[in-house]
């Protein structure tokens, strides 16, 4: 059975079918939860940012210029929401809850050692500066090109390359310490 396109769902919602929006939530929920979770480091903040992104997308749906690329448009909103939630959390001086990230991300078949290694990755990721973490996740986890990253974040390509490079160096440094410990 052929999947209904994003554009078709957007059209239904714009014609007043609120419930059709649930199709877009279902389609993008898990995919974008990964980014929010890695960016913010805990489930509570990630779900808050994601829910906020969806409701903002709904409210501004008539301004989505290319409904066929609704996912990319939603992702741009999410990246901004993660920045806002992250900044607010920073002001609250809240500590990261690393174990929740590991719990959500680790699959059951993984041996305990691999689970511990995943935890270390999450811990190291949260120790990166937010702008480096954002650039690293967009480049290596979401696998975006630098031009698309630049459009998404409003940051120049050379600055993004620098952030990614520094993020990689820092991750190697942090995770090598764990290896050699």
């Amino acid at each position: 059975m052929e999947a209904v396109s994003d554009a078709a769902i957007v059209e239904r919602v714009l014609r007043g079918n609120v419930e059709a929006f649930g199709g877009l939530v279902e389609r993008y929920r898990d995919r974008y939860a990964r980014y929010a979770l890695h960016m913010l480091g805990n489930r509570e903040d990630a779900e808050e940012a994601l829910q906020d992104a969806f409701t903002r997308a709904y409210r501004s749906l008539s301004r989505c210029d290319d409904p066929e690329r609704f996912g990319a448009w939603l992702f741009r909103i999410l990246v901004n929401r993660c920045r806002t939630v992250g900044a607010r959390r920073g002001r609250r001086a809240k500590t990261f809850v690393f174990d929740e990230t590991a719990l959500l991300s680790a699959s059951e078949e993984h041996p305990a050692e691999q689970g511990a290694w995943r935890e270390e990755i999450d811990r190291a990721l949260q120790r990166l500066r937010p702008e480096q973490r954002e650039a690293f996740l967009l480049k290596y986890v979401e696998e975006l090109g630098y031009d698309e990253m630049s459009r998404l974040t409003g940051v120049g390509v050379s600055a993004l390359k620098m952030r990614v490079m520094r993020a990689c160096d820092r991750l190697r440094e942090l995770l090598s310490e764990v290896h050699s410990a």
Binding site: E11, G16, D30, R34, I121, S180
Partner: protein, 193 residues
């Protein structure tokens, strides 16, 4: 990427690409929040005409449509010698029905001393600045006004000055983000009892 390092970034990235699952109750929370927001009630004029759509036509349906077109064309040819006005009036009436029930008469007023022409456009007249019922008259002293029919409900509107300048109503609440990125005015028309 530096392969000589103990830690390979591609392995880190692979681990982070593992799927993340969010509780399905998340959907309901989002939908509850969305249901509390104003419902989208219509497509913008531009989107309605520009949005691509798929139309499925059965062979029988296509035949009927083709036959109807032929009949319509023949009838049109038959009446071509009739007075054009007589033919045009019913069409105009169908496009702009003179009575849109339920509607109320609303007075729109704009002070525009330098204007040569002022019209009201809104979602109630298809944003058509040439609509005859929505042409404001100069009442003297730079005051332009028109009493025009508007259906009961929430509407967005604006004034069009001299066929080119869109002006939001200074006396009405503004709607900043309309579908065209311009500022319009908002009006709520209630049924008079």
């Amino acid at each position: 990427m530096r392969d000589d390092d103990n830690v390979k970034i591609k392995d880190v990235a692979r681990a982070l690409r593992e799927p993340v699952r969010i509780d399905a109750s998340f959907n309901e929370r989002v939908m509850r929040a969305v249901r509390d927001l104003p419902k989208h009630s219509r497509l913008s004029f531009w989107r309605r005409w520009s949005m691509p759509r798929t139309i499925t036509v059965s062979p029988l349906g296509a035949s009927l449509v083709a036959a109807s077109l032929v009949v319509f064309a023949l009838v049109g040819l038959w009446h071509v010698s009739d007075d054009i006005d007589r033919a045009a009036k019913p069409i105009a009436k169908a496009i702009f029905p003179s009575k849109v029930a339920p509607d109320q008469h609303v007075q729109f007023v704009l002070v525009a001393p330098d204007a040569k022409k002022v019209a009201v456009v809104g979602d109630f007249n298809g944003w058509d600045a040439s609509h005859s019922a929505y042409q404001a008259q100069h009442r003297g002293g730079g005051v332009w006004s028109v009493m025009a029919p508007v259906p009961v409900g929430h509407h967005r509107y604006s004034f069009v000055v001299d066929d080119s300048l869109w002006v939001a109503d200074p006396s009405a609440p503004r709607v900043v983000d309309n579908d065209f990125g311009m500022t319009n005015s908002a009006i709520v028309v209630e049924e008079q009892r």
